[in-house]
């Protein structure tokens, strides 16, 4: 994929990302535990420490027997989440046969939804399946589908297998924003054929562990088999990627600074750079699946800092996540050197009332070295600013309806390779309801 097409695709993706529902706000868990959404979420879908422990235990409240829970609440462990509302969109320098134009559109979105099934079958067995789609085109895909063995002799050893979200510094499935993904989770050096994205759910297995009954150290180590590569190689693991993440969380005895988390993460992958090709009649050569060879290295490594100010029940949370990444030159079209970049995000979220959360985020990804040295240095650089509010109009132990308003701006630098004169800028706004039942 050329840098031009990739940049255009990225902008287009931003325009539609929120029309799909987001996973991982799961009222079935609230119904099971009897607790309302705020017990596990600062404001849903973002988890607080209690919610993270519930997740890390495999959807169990305590490390002691949950027999009481199983008996206490009868419920069907199925939830649904969707967003409805009005969307405004403005994009500059959009390619047309008549040249670059600015497009503007607005209207009520056609809703999509997530259908979630998640539960602990016993102390040691949990599962999650998320079917996502149901939108205008009627397609449905399994966004997540995994089984988990919990507490293999110790909370420090849990195994999860299937299609799963990586243990990211900030979950993209649980972000407050509906118009903007974490850009750095999806960035690659311009022109790179590397298909692995941190933000995509991966096919693979994960080993994880955590402190038994409190916040503290936790880790996750995952291996994915296809690295997002659309065309498998001749390896047993088509394009293997290893991802690791460790965090340490402390609760200082301070009313000003109530929680601090630091962490480190990395991913390293090997993806094929060459394929046998097949050229159809009148078409262009296309890679043949299962013929990939000459695997080349891609990696990313980064750190995170999260600080919560004020009471945990009314948190002001600052999060900083930054990473450095590199794609091998053989994966980049017309390259003479490796592609190098860095980027991340800074997010501020404040929940002054149980029902109200305001958030702001800056995203940025910047090239340090273009694989193709003839490209302008800033080609493909992306920045975004997002701000919004969420207000729980109604929330209980069986669901919640949020009012949501948000605006974001995105800038992709040096889209001149698109034969366009300048950067592509996008503005997105959304106002409506986000609800889960």
């Amino acid at each position: 994929m050329s840098p031009a097409i990739r940049a255009a695709a990225a902008v287009a993706a931003l325009a539609v990302v929120f029309t799909a529902g987001r996973a991982d706000a799961i009222p079935a868990f609230a119904r099971r535990t009897g607790m309302g959404c705020p017990a596990c979420h600062d404001a849903w879908p973002r988890l607080n420490d209690f919610g993270e422990l519930y997740r890390d235990r495999g959807y169990r409240v305590d490390s002691i027997s949950d027999e009481a829970w199983y008996r206490a609440l009868t419920n069907v462990p199925v939830s649904v989440r969707t967003s409805v509302g009005y969307q405004y969109q403005n994009l500059t320098n959009q390619a047309t046969d008549q040249g670059a134009v600015t497009t503007t559109s607005g209207g009520f979105i056609f809703p999509a939804a997530d259908l979630l099934f998640g539960t602990a079958f016993s102390d040691h067995v949990s599962a999650l399946v998320v079917a996502s789609g149901f939108g205008r085109d009627g397609t449905v895909a399994l966004e997540s589908a995994w089984g988990r063995i919990n507490d293999i002799y110790t909370p420090w050893l849990n195994v999860r297998v299937g299609k799963l979200e990586l243990d990211l510094p900030m979950s993209e499935h649980r972000t407050y924003t509906l118009t903007q993904p974490y850009l750095v989770y999806h960035y690659h050096s311009p022109g790179s054929s590397n298909g692995f994205s941190l933000g995509d759910n991966q096919l693979g297995a994960e080993v994880s562990g955590h402190c038994p009954n409190h916040v503290g150290f936790r880790y996750a180590l995952a291996v994915s088999s296809d690295g997002g590569s659309p065309t498998a190689s001749q390896w047993a693991f088509s394009a293997p990627t290893i991802y690791g993440h460790v965090t340490q969380t402390v609760l200082p005895r301070s009313r000003l600074l109530s929680r601090v988390r630091v962490g480190f993460f990395f991913d390293v992958g090997w993806t094929p750079s060459q394929f046998k090709t097949l050229t159809p009649m009148g078409g262009a050569p296309a890679p043949v699946a299962g013929t990939g060879f000459q695997h080349r290295l891609v990696f990313q490594t980064g750190g995170e800092l999260h600080a919560t100010f004020g009471p945990l029940a009314r948190p002001l949370m600052l999060s900083v996540v930054w990473l450095y990444g590199e794609d091998d030159k053989d994966l980049i079209a017309n390259s003479a050197q490796n592609g190098k970049y860095h980027g991340g995000f800074v997010e501020l979220a404040y929940t002054p009332l149980l029902a109200l959360t305001a958030f702001f985020r800056y995203d940025g990804v910047y090239a340090l070295q273009q694989g193709d040295p003839t490209q302008p240095p800033a080609t493909g650089d992306q920045t975004a600013f997002t701000a919004g509010v969420r207000y729980a109009i109604w929330q209980a132990a069986w669901g919640s309806l949020m009012g949501h308003a948000e605006v974001s701006t995105t800038n992709t630098e040096n889209a001149a390779t698109l034969a366009m004169p300048a950067a592509v800028r996008g503005t997105l706004a959304f106002a409506g309801f986000d609800f889960a039942l």
Binding site: G36, F50, I64, W69, H214, L312, A313
Partner: protein, 246 residues
């Protein structure tokens, strides 16, 4: 049989309470801390314990063991004599560790300062705290050796105290009085099944089990045995019931 058991419980509880000296002087409520803790209460606790702390939260009816009614200031897990108020440390321990086998989880994720505030919030729900305070905690003597002989002696204590009436001969919580067991609020209540993990409401640690025997579980038919068994016999009983775990 049930009447005989209840009479025994009543006798044991009242005599133990008298032996321990009853209530202590009232302690001033930290209203600022209670107000701070109210924020946590509304986020984490209100769903089960209710806005007024009366145990009538929206989810309360779903639980076998109903959420605590803080307005009565009747707490199971204490280190104080039967019938007495708990210490702040007792309440803190319950919040941090939960009540095993019930819907009350551990809230250790809140951190020590928030939990200290929550303790004051819970106390603010009941006027009883304004007229009395907790007596000094009981003294837990050093544990005796957990030997086969101690377990056998504990089994004898188990029989002599008629524990099987509620907990069953094999400790599975299936004694003949089970169907008639009620808590102080008239709700049906189960006797602990000692074979299960989390059987001991206030914690599995030997000292916690010892404390339960010597203070009872307020608001339930589980009495204090402080007046009728010695410390050594209590440790023997601890060793016996812990030996019943699968």
């Amino acid at each position: 049989m049930t009447l005989r058991l209840l009479a025994l419980c009543s006798l044991v509880a009242s005599s133990a309470f008298a032996d321990e000296g009853g209530a202590g002087p009232p302690q001033p409520l930290d209203s600022a801390a209670a107000a701070r803790g109210r924020r946590d209460y509304e986020r984490y606790c209100v769903w089960c314990h209710g806005e007024r702390g009366d145990g009538r939260g929206k989810s309360a009816r779903h639980f076998d063991t109903l959420p605590r009614d803080f307005t009565s200031a009747t707490y199971k897990c204490r280190t104080t004599a039967s019938g007495a108020l708990p210490t702040d440390e007792d309440l803190r321990h319950t919040i941090l560790h939960g009540v095993h086998g019930t819907g009350m989880p551990s809230w250790v994720v809140l951190g020590s300062l928030q939990v200290a505030d929550l303790v004051q919030t819970l106390k603010a729900f009941s006027p009883r705290w304004r007229s009395e305070g907790p007596p000094p905690p009981i003294v837990v003597p050093a544990e005796t050796p957990d030997t086969r002989e101690s377990i056998e002696r504990g089994q004898a204590v188990y029989a002599r105290m008629q524990c099987a009436t509620c907990h069953g001969e094999s400790g599975h919580g299936d004694g003949p009085a089970l169907a008639s067991l009620r808590d102080d609020f008239g709700n049906p209540i189960r006797a602990a099944d000692f074979s299960q993990r989390g059987a001991f409401r206030c914690g599995d640690e030997p000292a916690r089990v010892y404390t339960t025997f010597m203070t009872g579980l307020n608001g339930t038919p589980m009495p204090s045995f402080a007046a009728v068994i010695s410390a050594g016999e209590a440790w023997d009983l601890v060793h016996f019931v812990r030996s019943l775990r699968k």
